[in-house]
Point group: C2
Chain length 302, copies 2
Amino acid sequence: MTVKMIVVGSVAYDTLKTPKGTRERALGGSATYFATVASYFTKVGLVGVAGEDFEAAHINFLKKHGVDLAGFEQVPGQTFHWSGSYGEDFGDATTHSTCLNVFESFDPKLPPAYQQVEFLFLANIHPALQMKVIQRVKKPRLIGLDTMNFWITSALPALKKVLKKVDVLFLNHQEALMLSGEKKLNSAVPALLKMGPQRLVIKMGELGALTATARTRFFTPAFPLSSITDPTGAGDSFAGGFMGTLARTGDLTENGFRRAMLYGSAMGAFTCEKFSLDTYKTLTRAKIEARFKALKAMLKVV
Amino acid sequence: MTVKMIVVGSVAYDTLKTPKGTRERALGGSATYFATVASYFTKVGLVGVAGEDFEAAHINFLKKHGVDLAGFEQVPGQTFHWSGSYGEDFGDATTHSTCLNVFESFDPKLPPAYQQVEFLFLANIHPALQMKVIQRVKKPRLIGLDTMNFWITSALPALKKVLKKVDVLFLNHQEALMLSGEKKLNSAVPALLKMGPQRLVIKMGELGALTATARTRFFTPAFPLSSITDPTGAGDSFAGGFMGTLARTGDLTENGFRRAMLYGSAMGAFTCEKFSLDTYKTLTRAKIEARFKALKAMLKVV
């Protein structure tokens, strides 16, 4: 099966504490979440790096999901390790430590087949690396990019440069205000679109997410969970469901993007229900469809 | 035409400053906004009090909209006067002064006809007064109640008592967390429903508004305005459009409430476009329908 989409980002181990418990060295990383989720929708390749401590069980987990690993390397050294905790409100995590380890010198390798992919997702890494990857993919149909406050503060010129090449920009509400320099979402939207992307996906945690173009707006509610266990990776999972849907259907109409938003919302919620990627040990396509339908019903007005 | 709905709340003059300009003694007050907006949908009666300084032009404005004034009194003294300002983000207003004046001893009078109304809206006044009004209406079909942080802090026992009698509780996101004592919306919703109301309407400014029951959720986006002039009264206008729609259609199904949410969102946005109630000097029913349709289109996914 030909790889239809690739993701470039981090592969990590996370040590974390949430109000529901703690986990040591749980599987994590933006590319890991994205690829695992997207694997339910399309053939996805993961471009990333891990250390020699990366467990065979975790490679098998990805392989079992059909994730293509031709662009995944294991090199001498330790895997990227993040440690953090969430408070009672499950808001932004407090980072205790970030050990980049082998990720520090990450230089994404794209096998020849990957240079032909139609769908490309640049997870949250240095914008200069994101740019490098874009230049290696010949004729992408759609490029999605995620970024965060850290790059907005520390690498703004590189970020602005790469934004000119991007179709869909993913960021959260606070980052949208920060990057645009605006105080209201309604002013931030046109300011961000002016930077290059045709479309924004602005994530708002338990409220849901907004997608906006110069002419359209669509808001998907979050799927209401009675309880959250671990929100780590929810944004990457949203992106995986969103981009996965587009890669699967090829439908880049407004309605196609709206359906992608609902699948994104469904997947973000699935990730929050268990620690790490544990949800995906048992998640079936049927459960995804049921959640998509529930979200669609939440929007229905006649 | 029989009065179908009444609102009990404040009639005020507002002196305010927004990034778009200043206004002295502009027409304001929760009942004024609610009744003016609701007048586009149903026959509404305003129960409120003003001082002898209340201008004939403002009484004529209400009459011209068909607002029934049998429960409106003008008494010796000055009209309630609020003074405040909004920052660049148009977030919560900073209050400079609140002169209750004649509103301090407000004792709502319900003419006999009003005791038979089907729809009752208790705007943001002391919960003990809200309770008094409820007891005077014989067989209301639907009671809506708005409250704010001030009463949550200063009159919690009275508020909890009145909430037991209410069908729809209106409050903003921050107040929902405050009143429930929860840190997340998903936990706040069941906690608030346990206090009595069957349904919540949680307003989130430029993001939109959520309505929730024990079994349903629906989020309406805010109508995206390219520029805001004055957000004063937006919440009461939302409630006016929402309750007005229900009074007009009598449709209390989930779909009926969803349509009410879209009309509420439309009216909240109209209010923000001009200072005070200026929008309603020229607003037509056709413009309301167009905005309703635009909002409905924003939700459509097939």
